[in-house]
Amino acid sequence: MREDKEFYVGYFDEMGPNTKRNIKGFIVLVVLIVVFCAMVFGLSQRPFANSTFEFGSDTEITGIYHEMPYPMLRVEVAENEYKNIVLLGFGKSSINPFLKKIRRKGTRLTGKILTIKGNLIYYNGKTLIQLTDEENVSIKNQLFVSELPIKDEMGRVSFMGEIVDPKCYFGVMKPGYGKIHRSCAVRCISGGIPPVLATKDNEGNDRYVLLTDSSGNPINEAILNYIGKPAKVTGHLERMEDWDFLRLNTGDIEVLDQESGIYVQ
């Protein structure tokens, strides 16, 4: 039997013509797979929300500070029209560590006019602001207690939706909901960021409800097991200008075995 010539040895420079042809063919095949793969993975992603996080860009907002129970600034956006902006700390933390430092100086905050410089987060009519340094807070000493918002009782209701952390959901992360994001939402809410139920009303419009415990106090650790899962949440609804609140017992949260309606955006 005669000797066949072609045998590839990596450390020899030369490569037989058949080997060369085969490798070229394989590379072409891989290029096609790469193109196809990039198209499949790139184009099949769910649409991302049109939310905004103005990271690296500071905005100053001025309003009356209140905690009912979550820290917010009541800002007059038009004559007799108010928006309550949720105040957040840096990273996966509430604003409370910064406020604690301010309060240590003996400063009362509720009812006072605060000017906060931070990064805005906004989506679907809701606005939040991230504070990165307590030095970026200036306080006017005058009290405006009479201008604090009032909550109206709306009765006992049930919503189907998903409990999210508003910082990520309204702009910092995309997606800021669902299983992929659940761990992050748990960290954020565990860090004091208020939980929000993202749901839809009967007309299919997005609706957001801040969650508190049954006494209206902040709820964080107790709700961690329910975050990022489709759920039916029942409680007492309260309306405070542009925000709704739901006072609930965690026993009244039912995790649902279905796809969350908030995925369809």
Binding site: Y11, N18, N22, Q45, P47, S93, G178, S190
Partner: protein, 345 residues
């Protein structure tokens, strides 16, 4: 082959291989980010990076896992095997970018250690759909790290080829972790039929390739030989072996490569000391049996690597009667000289 350990023993083919890897990776990243920025422009930079590098690592892992069986089925793919470890390390780096960014994005800047958070932020370990999929990705990354960190002949020699091979076969465990990571994570939310089908197709292709290869390899091992009065095995006619090539016969001691070269025949153990390559699928080049996987060489008459190299394999005695080759199945010590049998004209 190299006598001293160097970080990389560069040669022209390795440089070409690495250039193709780098350009291939950049091409994928460019396409993925370009398409996402054009058609899904509301994405964030963090999500873009996590997804681009995650899907890149996934694609590369499938290619890496296909190379082994492809080479067993067709030797034309052997150049892909030669520098596969660089492809593996590159895949690990892509996976590390994906894992590192994800760990920072989802677990850092919080009220606990990010690694602790990874294991405890989602405690639904008893649920399939809610299972903490990031943990699976973390374990896969640890395996890939162990493999990438030992992807050098220094570790191959010092850990021993058996342990090294065992460590690197853990890529299959990493692959299973990654499948669970993707199916219990991203695919619970990114439910495109096309993406899930594409991933399933990749898995099925790999399984099919491995099964076909396994059946073929198992068939090779089921050989029975006629035994003569001296208990020697009747292997084949000398004309069945091409010049400078070998016939592999499998006996109780494992596969043996019987080489025909320079008008002679010699037999050595078939398994290369480097990474267990099949020496019988190699070729005699410059008087040395050359392994098809990485070019390690052995002298046919004594199974020793040519000086100054020191690797040795077992040798076997042969007989030639009326053109028929007989093999003594008793292996001689590694590196034992056996007089080559002259082929009668």
């Amino acid at each position: 082959m190299g006598l001293d350990y160097q970080f990389v023993l560069w040669n022209r083919n390795k440089k070409r291989y690495d250039i193709i890897i780098v350009f291939g990776m950049l091409f994928y990243l460019f396409l993925f980010t370009g398409l996402t920025l054009i058609f899904k422009s509301q994405t964030t930079m963090e999500t873009l990076l996590i997804r681009a590098f995650g899907t890149l690592a996934l694609l590369m892992l499938h290619i890496i896992l296909a190379i082994g069986p492809l080479c067993r089925l067709n030797t034309a793919f052997l150049p892909l095997l030669y520098n596969r470890r660089h492809l593996g390390v590159s895949m690990f780096l892509a996976a590390l970018v994906h894992g590192g960014f994800s760990l920072f994005q989802f677990h850092a800047l919080g009220n606990t250690n990010p690694i602790y958070s990874l294991f405890t932020s989602n405690m639904d370990y008893g649920s399939l759909t809610n299972f903490p999929f990031q943990v699976m990705g973390f374990f896969a990354l640890l395996i890939l790290f162990a493999m990438a960190a030992t992807s050098h002949d220094f570790y191959l020699k010092n850990l021993s080829p058996k342990i090294w091979k065992g460590l690197h076969l853990m890529v299959y465990i990493a692959y299973v972790f990654i499948l669970f990571h993707v199916f219990l994570g991203a695919f619970q939310q990114e439910t495109s039929v096309l993406t899930v089908s594409f991933m399933g197709l990749g898995f099925l292709s790999l399984v099919t390739l491995h099964i076909i290869t396994g059946i073929r390899e198992a068939g090779k091992e089921k050989q029975e030989y006629e035994i003569n009065v001296d208990q020697w095995l009747k292997v084949c006619h000398v004309s069945d072996i091409k010049t400078n090539r070998a016939k592999i016969c499998t006996i109780d001691n494992g596969p043996v490569a019987i080489y025909k070269y320079d008008g002679k025949i010699s037999a050595i153990h078939n398994t290369c000391k480097h990474q267990g390559g099949p020496l019988g699928e190699g070729k005699v080049i410059d008087g040395c049996i050359t392994c098809p996987w990485h070019g390690y060489q052995y002298l046919p008459h004594n199974g020793q690597s040519p000086p100054p190299f020191t690797d040795k394999v077992q040798t076997y005695q042969l007989k030639l009667e009326k053109g028929i080759i007989y093999l003594n199945p008793r292996a001689l010590q590694e590196g034992t000289y056996v007089e080559p049998i002259q082929i009668e004209k």
